[in-house]
């Protein structure tokens, strides 16, 4: 397919791998921040093609995983209301709250619908004036512009039956939190290309300088990921720490100016809880005061939510590369792909599932994941 095959060329991939092998002289730990890049790495088997000295640590950039339990429980409470049509991106439906997920609410009472764009939810609100339409607005800077546009459109149309449950998270504060963590092992970052295509690259320069850590803006196709890794390794081997853009075909230093203006209008920076991590200061967006009437948390009384998180699984340590999947006491015993305790064991993209399945026939050392 045009514009894709060019970035999946096996010969060019081999050439990049050869270059990476040639310059790598010691162990390096690199974090790909974004879940989309983790997906690409496992989907294409990139982790096993890299020299064993390069360790990829999967970052907290999966919006589904980090959306706080309290917000999920609020979503479940709102979705269960008979007057509500609750709209969400598909993969949020299987994320568990304290006791249920959206699939279960849908099977019981709720009118829960998968949409492909938040603007579809605005359309639904126009078509159903007697129902309250709520969109689950989550994700990083990537999904935020379309969500902002939906709120902006709803305001322009004067819709009184549209609202958004907002739990946006931001990448730069997460990078800070990781670098400030006493257990941090990350020596270089692949920054998320699509986030930077919206926000630009400027906000990463202070991080590079403060933490003396290479950050390379990286795309998602196999050649993009390999080129990002190659540039991080080159910097590390040469003792440099710079901001670099390996995704120039999509990312400009200033980002998408129009999108940023809309984001600044509709959202405002706020402290945000990350599921499993805790509150990271100024790490998220909420609706700005000007659009407060579209805030689903205000429109529906969901302030009295009691949450209860499971504490069985140690996938957090796996995600930071502090624990190899097969070092977890539950690995392969209580926790298998059929009976997963954590997200990392759930899909074939997860580090634990990859370990579990590949571990049956590939020596553990040959797998590059965490």
């Amino acid at each position: 397919m045009k514009y894709l095959d060019e970035f999946r060329d096996p010969e060019l991939a081999q050439r990049l791998l050869d270059q990476i092998r040639r310059v790598t002289t010691r162990h390096w730990a690199i974090m790909e921040v974004c879940g989309g890049q983790t997906h690409s790495i496992i989907r294409n088997g990139i982790d096993q093609l890299l020299p064993p000295d390069i360790e990829l640590i999967h970052g907290p950039g999966c919006p589904v995983c980090v959306t706080p339990l309290e917000i999920i429980d609020k979503a479940l409470a709102i979705a269960a209301r008979p007057d509500v049509i609750f709209c969400s991106f598909g993969d949020m439906l299987r994320v568990p709250g304290s006791r249920k997920d959206l699939f279960r609410v849908k099977s019981e009472v709720g009118d829960v619908r998968v949409v492909y764009s938040p603007l579809d939810a605005v359309k639904l609100a126009q078509q159903n004036p007697d129902r309250q339409v709520v969109f689950f607005g989550i994700g990083f800077e990537t999904t935020a512009p379309a969500n902002a546009m939906a709120v902006y459109q709803a305001a322009r149309l004067g819709l009184k039956n549209f609202s958004m449950l907002v739990s946006h998270v931001l990448v730069p504060p997460a990078i800070s939190a990781i670098m400030e963590s006493p257990t941090n092992r990350v020596q270089g970052f692949l920054a998320a290309g699509h986030v930077c295509s919206v926000m630009g690259t400027e906000e990463y320069q202070p991080l590079v300088e403060k933490y003396r850590v290479p950050i390379v803006v990286t795309g998602f196709e196999p050649l993009d990921v390999l080129e990002g890794i190659r540039r991080v390794i080159l910097q590390l081997e040469q003792g440099r720490a710079e901001l670099d853009n390996a995704y120039e075909r999509a990312v400009r230093p200033e980002g998408n100016v129009a999108a940023k203006q809309m984001l600044a209008d509709v959202f405002t920076v706020t402290d945000r809880a990350w599921r499993g991590i805790g509150v990271i200061p100024r790490s998220g967006w909420r609706l700005s005061d000007r659009y407060a009437e579209f805030d689903a948390e205000r429109r529906f009384d969901v302030s009295n939510i009691q949450t209860a998180e499971s504490t069985l699984c140690r996938s957090g340590e796996v995600l930071q590369g502090r624990l190899k999947p097969n070092q977890c006491p539950a690995f392969g015993k209580e926790c298998t792909p059929r009976t997963p305790l954590g997200a990392t064991m759930v899909s074939s993209e997860g580090a634990c599932a990859a370990y579990y399945q590949y571990g049956r026939f590939i020596p553990t050392g040959a797998i590059g994941v965490a």
């Binding site: 894709l4 999946r8 060329d9 096996p10 997906h39 496992i42 989907r43 294409n44 088997g45 982790d47 096993q48 093609l49 950039g61 999966c62 919006p63 589904v64 999920i72 991106f89 949020m92 299987r94 994320v95 997920d101 699939f103 279960r104 849908k106 099977s107 019981e108 998968v114 492909y116 989550i138 504060p173 800070s176 939190a177 400030e180 963590s181 941090n184 699509h194 196999p222 599921r275 499993g276 805790g278 200061p281 499971s310 699984c313 140690r314 996938s315 957090g316 340590e317 059929r338 009976t339 997963p340 305790l341 954590g342 997200a343 759930v346 899909s347 074939s348 599932a353 590949y358 590939i362």
Partner: protein, 351 residues
């Protein structure tokens, strides 16, 4: 930062699996479906967990009867390339054909929703008649029930098929063996993407048309080639990935396919790229997967490519004695990945 955060307590949310009520995923042909059969139906019916084939073989005074039953719920009822009627005929014929049997007759049972327009039902019935005639099977019995408006999706159809399995033909998922070549009869993912495109109003360049077709003619040609065919499977719900995983589990073999060898039409590829889906998980209604003795693979491929439904047949991989129960794919850039069965429905990813 005000104070450092210790990441060591990170807990990732684990999706729920122990639903107290039916969710849509129980019908998606993935792990939830399998668990429903294994934990609820089999114990209640007194059945044993064995290879769960598309059809059952019944020996009655020397004759080998293949029987299969299948319910069809499709929204929309009419889609590019077909409607629920021909799907109900072709789907059950294919389940019979995958046992190496020749389909003979079908029964059809209809659950109709109050308000279903008769002209639409007429079109569906005509399609069923036409599909059955083309396939050379007779519709021999049927039933209709009507439910209140709002209690059905227009029409649900259940068809039961009967076929004769020739003596000496022993084809089933447990028959696949290490070394077998794995062939797919043509481009994958067309039915699932055709349904998705009309249901969600998404267009992917050229319109995608369902591949619904009765495969017993192709199977006949394949059997008469003399190639040693061990397993046939039509990769419907759950796609090629679910079919291969079931075969790997039932035959206790490993499977290795090459992603580059799997024929994926550009429109299906585009839809999957856009929605974050995997073509290997998308449903087909007119394709089959064959496991054949490696020495006979070329001969079988040649015969398949001579048949209209197998023109683009392709060798996609091999069975192996390594990693029994696990399906892996050699990726486009030469890496390896596990090809898993989905837990429930395939969902568009956010990122």
């Amino acid at each position: 930062m005000t104070e450092p955060i210790d990441f060591s307590g990170w807990v990732c949310p684990a999706p729920l699996r122990d639903y107290p009520a039916i969710v849509m995923g129980h019908g998606a042909g993935g792990k939830l479906s399998a668990e429903l059969i294994e934990h609820l139906f089999l114990p209640a019916f007194g059945g044993q967990r064995g290879p769960l084939t598309d059809a059952a073989l019944l020996e009655i005074s020397g004759a080998r009867l293949a029987i299969s039953t299948d319910s069809f719920v499709v929204r929309p009822l009419f889609f590019p390339g077909g409607n629920i009627g021909e799907l109900a005929v072709n789907g059950t014929i294919n389940d019979i054909a995958m046992m190496g049997a020749q389909p003979v007759a079908l029964t059809a049972s209809f659950i109709l929703e109050e308000g279903m327009p008769l002209d639409q039902l007429g079109l569906i019935a005509e399609s069923m008649g036409r599909a059955a005639r083309q396939a050379g099977v007779t519709l021999i019995a049927g039933d209709t029930k009507v439910v209140d408006r709002g209690h059905g999706d227009g029409v649900f159809i259940t068809t039961t098929g009967f076929g004769m399995a020739p003596a000496g033909v022993s084809i089933g998922p447990e028959q696949a063996r290490p070394g077998d070549a794995i062939i797919v009869s043509g481009p994958i993912g067309l039915h699932g993407v055709a349904i998705l495109s009309v249901r969600e109003g998404i267009e992917f360049g050229a319109p995608v048309v369902s591949d619904t077709a009765a495969l017993h003619g192709l199977v006949s040609a394949m059997l008469s080639s003399g190639a040693r065919i061990h397993t046939l499977r039509d990769p419907t719900r759950g796609g090629v990935a679910a079919a291969l995983n079931e075969i790997a589990a039932d035959a206790k073999i490993g499977i290795e396919i090459s992603e580059r060898a799997v024929p994926v039409p550009p429109a299906v590829q585009a839809a999957c790229e856009l929605l974050g889906m995997d073509p290997l998980h998308i449903a087909n209604e007119g394709k089959l997967i064959a496991f054949v003795d490696r020495a006979d693979a070329d001969r079988l491929l040649a015969v398949m490519r001579d048949h209209p439904l197998g023109r683009e047949a392709a060798l996609i991989g091999y069975a192996t004695a390594d990693h029994p129960g696990v399906v892996v794919a050699r990726t486009g850039i030469g890496g390896m990945r596990v090809v898993d069965t989905l837990v429930g429905e395939q969902l568009p990813r956010i990122c």
